[in-house]
């Protein structure tokens, strides 16, 4: 394909000379002209001279004759226009004007040099300076120049402001005119057709589906335009502020409804095109109306969608060029706020609609589509991620198709008739996710624990995949928490737990306490009497307080806070303790996994053990870090 060859050519500008050239990145060839392969000639190098009142002088490439183009009125003339002023360096031509040739002429206009701004302005400063050698005079000249520059800047700013005000009006005119064209070219004729008792090509249902709310938009924006036009009669003393503010208020409802329906309208038209040739053909005929300018109905329908954000651009620009304290400043600000709100509202609403559509589409992949859809499609739900993971329960391994939403996880089994839902893990009420340490059988595992403490172990195919799931689920849980918890009393829980010294904590663990001990083999938990005895940690029956088993603490390799060991997740439903109450002592060959029964006990045990195992391979937390971490987990 020609494409592959072309893709090696790039168009470059020589940094030093500013000249443009072409370079082939593969062959390192360079050339000044567009290579034949790319099929074109090099850019021309015409100049222009800026005249007064929007006139520019150009040179016609073919004849070398000058001509004049007005950027404001879009007129083109062969003779020097009267209002263009003097200052033209090139020879004047007395040829007849040719206003009909605008497009052609403008096509030939080439590079705008666009160098310094001052080439456009009188050169009086330069003249002053050259006449004066004396330093004082030079300083004077510089001062003058500064002042002139400042004045120029102010003038430019004012001119810019005027231009934006004009643009507000002009773009509104163009917009309303487009809406009216849509009405004239499409809406009215289609309605006439739909009204016909017999053989109507279009039904009113079609029209409602496609043009919902269009009438209201036309009314709202016509009113806005009328107000602008009226105010414009006071030119140059116009105040659009309040008009724009009021208009912005009137946009919210109609535009939200319109944009929400927009996708449906698009789909309806798409359907007509595919399945209803007669209707589609009719629309194509409408397109040939001179006013339609060859634009199809969809090109018109999208205009309201893009209009609201553009009011924002205009208002921001207006505010940037309006002096503070100006009569219009406040109304512009309010209008901008309102417009932003409407735009965001529309955007959000549309996002909701898109998300609902996505959920509906997802539901169709299940075998009991309707049931699933009933459950799944909710206004506040958002699809996040899907993939295949292995679900591990004791010794069972099952491949499951897993869907993560912003508030729940659903897993399913693929069958010939679609996906069969196997279970759901809501991410509400303190659900959590933990990465599990690597073992030979489970390299990339993480545990998801629901709000009731029921745990599920999932194994991914790679480290990256595992991390992606972990991060995504963690983010979802955080999101749920934000909504769910009006700052539950972390303070109440941690606030009145007194701080202790390390000797006090050591004393507490040496005296012994009841901890829940999790069994590494089956994940079951039971209360055990645990104490530190010399350099050992030992545990046994709660009633007898006999220590039957022990391990040497100097042999421990790490102290972990939180349910981070696999033992906590071995059995679904077994782990009833809060995550932040859990801690583990890691040894080379095994781990000791406990849950404390209250905050103070947790602080005692974790901090004392951290003190006794200072070489922990996992980073150790001090008291304030631990408190902060617990607070975060609550």
């Amino acid at each position: 394909m020609a494409d592959e060859k072309n893709s090696d050519w790039v168009y470059l500008i020589d940094q030093e000379s500013g000249a443009s050239y072409y370079a082939n990145l593969k062959t390192k060839e360079t050339c000044w002209e567009l290579p034949e392969a790319l099929g074109g000639g090099a850019a021309e190098d015409a100049q222009y001279v800026k005249l007064e009142n929007g006139w520019f002088q150009y040179t016609d490439d073919e004849t070398g004759r000058p001509y004049y183009y007005n950027v404001k009125t879009e007129q083109t003339m062969w003779t020097l226009p009267e209002d263009a002023g003097p200052g033209v360096r090139l020879e004047e031509s007395d040829a007849a004007s040719s206003e009909g040739d605008n497009d052609e002429k403008r096509d030939q206009v080439s590079e705008f040099p666009g160098r310094g701004d001052f080439s456009e302005y009188p050169k009086s400063f330069a003249d002053d300076e050259s006449d004066d050698d004396d330093e004082e005079a030079a300083a004077e000249a510089r001062k003058k120049e500064e002042e002139a520059k400042k004045k120029l800047k102010e003038e430019k700013r004012a001119a810019r402001r005027v231009k934006i005000l004009e643009e507000v009006l002009q773009s509104e005119r163009a917009y309303v005119s487009s809406l009216e064209t849509l009405e004239k070219v499409y809406l009215v004729p289609l309605r006439t057709v739909a009204d016909q008792p017999k053989g109507a090509i279009f039904s009113h249902t079609d029209l409602d589906a496609v043009f919902l709310n269009m009438k209201i938009l036309i009314t709202v924006n016509k009113k806005f335009l009328d107000d602008l036009e009226k105010e414009y009669e006071n030119w140059p003393n116009v105040h659009f502020g309040n008009i724009m503010k009021n208009a912005a208020k009137s946009f919210r409802g109609p535009y939200t409804r319109y944009v929400n329906n927009y996708d449906q309208a698009e789909k309806h038209l798409e359907n007509l095109k595919k399945n209803d040739k007669e209707k589609h053909r009719y629309l194509e005929v409408c397109k040939t109306h001179p006013d339609a300018n060859g634009l199809d109905v969809r090109s018109f329908l999208i205009m309201p969608v893009q209009r609201v954000p553009r009011y924002r651009m205009l208002l921001e620009d207006l505010l940037a060029h309006t002096d503070s304290g100006h009569l219009d400043e406040e109304p512009f600000k309010e209008a901008l706020e309102k417009v932003m709100e409407v735009a965001q509202h529309i955007n959000e609403e549309k996002r909701h609609m898109d998300e609902m559509d996505q959920l509906k589409a997802l539901a169709t992949r299940f075998n009991d589509e309707d049931e699933i859809a009933k459950d799944l499609v909710r206004l506040d739900r958002r699809f996040v991620k899907e993939g295949v993971l292995t679900k591990v329960r004791l010794t069972h391994h099952q491949k499951r198709h897993v869907f993560l939403f912003n508030d729940t996880v659903i897993y399913a089994n693929p069958t010939g008739k679609g996906l069969q839902k196997k279970g759901e893990i809501p991410l509400t009420n303190g659900a959590r996710v933990e990465i599990l340490p690597k073992t030979d059988s489970q390299q990339f595992a993480f545990a998801l624990v629901d709000g009731k403490g029921k745990g599920y172990t999932w194994v991914a195919e790679s480290d990256a995949e595992k991390n992606e799931w972990y991060e995504a689920i963690l983010a979802a849980i955080k999101g749920v928490k934000m909504l769910e918890r009006p700052s539950q009393s972390a303070d109440a829980l941690l606030g009145h737990v007194a701080s202790k010294t390390m000797p006090q904590r050591l004393e507490a663990v040496r005296a012994g306490a009841t901890l829940m001990k999790y069994n590494l083999r089956d994940g079951k938990s039971a209360p055990r009497w645990v104490k530190v005895w010399g350099d050992k940690i030992c545990w046994g029956d709660v009633r007898t307080k006999d220590c039957k088993s022990e391990l040497k603490l100097p042999e421990a390799t790490a102290i972990l806070h939180g349910a981070k060991s696999a033992a906590f997740f071995k059995q679904q439903g077994a782990k009833k303790d809060q995550d932040w109450l859990c801690f583990s002592v890691v040894f080379k060959s095994r781990t000791l996994d406990f849950a404390a029964t209250n905050v103070q006990s947790l602080l005692d045990w974790y901090l004392a053990l951290a003190h006794l195992v200072p070489n922990s391979s996992e980073p150790l937390l001090d008291e304030s870090q631990l408190r902060a971490r617990i607070e975060g987990m609550l």
């Binding site: 394909m1 020609a2 494409d3 072309n6 893709s7 790039v10 168009y11 470059l12 500008i13 940094q15 443009s20 990145l25 790319l38 850019a43 950027v71 497009d103 403008r106 096509d107 080439s110 590079e111 705008f112 666009g114 701004d117 001119a159 810019r160 231009k163 004729p189 944009v259 927009y262 996708d263 589609h280 053909r281 194509e284 005929v285 409408c286 397109k287 040939t288 109306h289 001179p290 339609a292 300018n293 060859g294 199809d296 969809r298 090109s299 999208i302 205009m303 969608v305 893009q306 954000p309 553009r310 651009m313 205009l314 620009d317 735009a343 529309i346 955007n347 549309k350 996002r351 898109d354």
Partner: protein
């Protein structure tokens, strides 16, 4: 301009990219050959129509500008529908705008309804010479995404026409796209010939 000038194809082209990279300027430079550094209009236009001749074929382009919509991504999604060509614009002097290209591409993949829409990467504002993205880097990125890369300056006009012609050429070179485009317009062209016909048209 006559609205029904004859053309072989009607293509819809979309300009996307971060705010301030010069999408509107690019569009106006191409369609009107104008550039206003200080007195440019704020919103420019919704879209412009321009007829180009590429490889002997006349293509009428409706080029849509998304300026102002960048912050409202879901609104922008509406524009992608039925696009044959998509021009992805960044500013070679603003690294951030280059870094965001990946996001734009993801969005494009999500929303574009025409399969294999022709994509072109355009680095704008090369006249400023405060480059933060090198040609090699941009080219490598473009190639990885199976796009051609063109450097332009809407201000000096350099490369602008080439960029748009490149997109048209790519659409012409992709049979699927051409089929999609003719599906849009074939009946339209046919009917345009019966302009004088009063039949259905009297309603319009």
């Amino acid at each position: 301009m006559a609205y029904a000038g004859s053309f072989d194809h009607l293509f819809k082209v979309l300009l996307i990219g971060d705010a301030g990279v010069g999408k509107s300027s690019l569009l106006l430079r191409f369609t009107d050959d104008s550039f206003e550094e200080h007195m440019a209009s704020t919103i420019g236009v919704d879209f412009k129509v321009k007829t180009v001749v590429v490889g002997g074929k006349t293509a009428k382009l409706t080029i849509w500008d998304t300026a102002g919509q960048e912050r409202f991504r879901t609104l922008t999604s509406s524009y992608y529908r039925g696009c044959h060509g998509i021009i992805l614009v960044f500013d070679v002097n603003e690294r951030e705008t280059f870094n965001h290209l990946q996001q734009w591409l993801e969005e494009l993949d999500m929303y574009a309804t025409v399969q294999n829409a022709a994509k072109l990467l355009v680095g704008n504002k090369i006249d400023l010479q405060q480059r933060e993205v090198t040609v090699e880097e941009a080219t490598a990125f473009a190639r990885k995404q199976a796009m051609m890369y063109v450097e332009v300056s809407a201000k000096t006009r350099a490369g602008v026409r080439q960029a748009f012609e490149e997109v048209v050429q790519k659409i012409l070179d992709t049979p699927d796209l051409l089929a999609a485009a003719s599906g849009e317009t074939s009946s339209g062209i046919g009917l345009a010939k019966q302009e004088g016909d009063t039949g259905l048209c009297s309603y319009c």
